[in-house]
């Protein structure tokens, strides 16, 4: 039985080596010997010894160094230092270097065997503990279906997954989990309390402590980056065993950053809308309060002027609400389109009719110029009418008295190009950039008396986006502006083939 146990003796004294070897062999141990430190190191590191006995004083290298070198490669072996020169310092140093103990020369066979047995037992315990740990990890892995197909699947999904057992130890997790929660320190069998952010650990802990019979999945949202770049949603669900008791919990982590960003934009839009809606209401209310304030006496003409101005504000409010409804319909994709081939020139003429009066009032000349052979475009005629109405309305509204509006239609390789050009107030370069933003209205000395909601062009943009068209703007402050609309047309070739 004892032949399984290997012992190495490193000593330069021939007599002692042979004597010790004999004693140990009689006990049935397998014994090797080395007659100096160098050999001791080479033999000691080439095999797994249970116990190594090292003489402190050897001619080539000291026993301490042999001990230190062997410990590095064979940490689980039990080492003993043997010496005739006992001192407190050498004892302490030997223990520090990892020796199990210290054998004082000369020693009796019993003293030797006592220490050797102790060393063997110590090594057995260490090895057992290691095996236990390995076995346990293997079990955990098995429980988490390592090597199975399912594992491969879970490893490749973008959602983070973590399984935690009742002892709050990580039993399984996938790479996405580490990435989403930046839990680089997570490892199998490790307690998750010091690896996960506390609020997430709390969710796990609460569920594991829950003794009620019906435990439901819990979800919450977290920001995982200090700078707030990443939002995740974490759901924790119980894993129930055959006896319906909880074996552990499973966490699923979703990246919801994009969704959060959209939510923020939406909130900003809502606050902007509220502000824009409030302005005309406040102005109207202000006029009414002044008109009903007994301490303010106004001449009748002024009273009428204020009432007129109040109703103008309310009219613009209604227009804005209509525009907003349009926008919300297009956002929700509930616009009912009746798409059919449309002759652009016809729509233009219809739109111009609407503005005849207004243009005449300010003596603005409107001119139309069509090229020949303008192809049809496939659109909802109402939508194109709305688009052109907005452009023509701007060309007249932001024009000067006695100004001009020129509308021309041109065919290019892919698009029907509609240009609406005016000789009006124009825009500064900075103003041009924000033109298509909701509620944007250029504020300069010309525009302050012109009313509008700032939604017209944002609707134009939305309509063009839907039809894969685009718009270009050229403008010079004080001189005029030109909008060019590009709409894809029906390709005769293609349609004929179908």
């Amino acid at each position: 039985m004892n032949t399984d146990i290997k012992i190495l003796i490193v000593d330069d004294e021939d007599n002692l080596r042979t004597a010790v070897k004999k004693i140990l062999q009689m006990e049935g141990y397998t014994v090797s010997t080395a007659e100096n430190g160098t050999k001791g190191i080479s033999i000691g590191s080439s095999d797994d010894f249970d116990v190594v006995l090292i003489d402190l004083k050897m001619p080539d290298i000291s026993g301490m160094e042999v001990l230190a070198r062997l410990r590095q490669v064979k940490p689980n072996t039990s080492y003993y230092i043997a010496t005739a020169y006992a001192s407190y310092e050498t004892a302490v140093e030997a223990i520090k270097l990892g020796a199990e103990g210290y054998i004082l020369k000369p020693f009796t066979p019993d003293e030797l065997l006592h220490d050797i047995r102790k060393g063997i037992e110590k090594r057995r315990l260490i090895i057992e503990a290691e095996e236990l740990k390995r076995e346990r990890e293997a079990n955990l892995l098995e429980l988490a279906f390592e090597r199975s197909r399912l594992n491969t699947v879970i490893k490749s999904i973008t959602e983070g997954v973590l399984v935690v057992n009742k002892d709050r130890e990580a039993v399984y997790f996938n790479p996405a989990f580490i990435k989403l929660l930046k839990a680089d320190e997570l490892e199998l069998a490790r307690n998750v309390s010091d690896v996960l952010p506390y609020p997430i650990y709390e969710m796990i802990d609460n569920m594991l402590n829950d003794s009620s019979s019906e435990i439901k999945t819990q979800s919450d949202e977290f920001k995982t980056d200090a700078d707030g770049d990443l939002y995740v949603e974490v759901s924790v669900s119980p894993i129930l065993g055959n006896d319906h008791s909880m074996d552990g919990v499973v966490l699923v982590v979703n990246n919801i950053t994009t969704y959060k960003q959209i939510e923020l934009l939406k909130n900003q839009f809502i606050s902007m809308v509220s502000h824009e809606l409030k302005a005309p209401v406040a102005a109207t209310l202000g006029f009414l309060e002044i008109l009903t304030n007994p301490s303010i006496i106004l001449p009748e003409t002024q009273q009428i002027e204020y009432l007129t101005r109040a109703s103008a504000r309310l009219k613009s409010l209604i227009e804005m609400v209509n525009d907003l409804l349009d926008i919300s319909r297009s956002e929700l994709n509930t616009v009912r389109r009746e798409i059919r081939p449309v002759i652009v020139q016809k729509v233009i003429e219809e739109v111009l009719l609407l503005f005849e009066n207004e243009a005449a009032k300010r003596n603005i000349a409107v001119e139309i110029k069509y090229e020949e052979n303008i192809p049809l475009i496939n659109v909802d005629p109402n939508e194109i009418e709305r688009l052109l109405t907005n452009l023509v309305s701007n060309a007249i509204k932001y024009n000067k008295n006695d100004g001009k509006v020129l509308i021309s239609v041109h065919k290019s390789a892919k698009y029907v190009e509609i240009s609406v050009e005016d000789t009006g107030i124009g825009m500064k370069p900075g103003e041009k950039e924000k033109l298509f933003n909701e509620f944007y209205r250029a504020k300069n000395e010309f525009t302050k008396t012109i009313s509008g909601t700032g939604l017209g062009l944002s609707i134009v943009k939305r309509i063009l986006d839907y039809y894969q068209g685009y718009v270009n703007v050229e403008s010079e402050y004080g001189k005029g502006t030109r909008f060019i609309i590009y709409l894809p047309y029906i390709d005769e070739h293609n349609t004929n083939q179908h």
Binding site: S274, A283, L285, G286, I290, N293, S295, R313
Partner: protein, 137 residues
């Protein structure tokens, strides 16, 4: 103009501007109006008003902040109350309320008031400002 105290009101909404003018005049002050922050700054230097009421959102969403900052740096501006009015205090997503010390010191306005301005509030805030200033003397 008489010896009435002059208040400068700056707002790009001409209707609100006119209403504020009537109400403040009705309370016994004389009013000078401006429709943009540039015009406001010019009028401020010209008339050296007794108080300023500035709309927050004009050409830009923070034009009022910038104008009040400029006024409060001016020698005369330091001695008068400057009020910002806004309809979007506490609005979601956009931050216009002066909450941190940093923002307060940067903005320099004496109060941020909600639109529409309640004239009695405005008058009592002006009085308060001057009472405090007198007490310090």
């Amino acid at each position: 103009m008489s010896d009435k105290k002059v208040i400068l009101v700056v707002d790009d909404d001409v209707d609100i501007l006119e209403q504020t003018k009537i109400l403040v005049e009705n309370a016994g002050f004389s009013v000078v109006t401006a429709e943009s922050s540039n015009e406001g700054w010019l009028k401020f230097q010209e008339i050296k008003p007794y108080a300023c009421v500035l709309d927050l959102m004009m050409e830009e969403y923070d034009s009022g902040f910038i104008l009040s900052h400029k006024i409060k740096k001016d020698a005369h501006g330091k001695t008068i109350p400057v009020f910002l009015v806004t309809s979007v205090a506490n609005a979601t997503g956009l931050r216009f309320d002066a909450t941190t010390e940093d923002e307060k010191s940067w903005i320099k306005a004496d109060a941020i008031m909600n639109k529409p301005v309640v004239i009695d509030d405005l008058i009592s805030k002006i009085d308060e400002f001057y009472e405090k200033a007198d007490a310090v003397k």
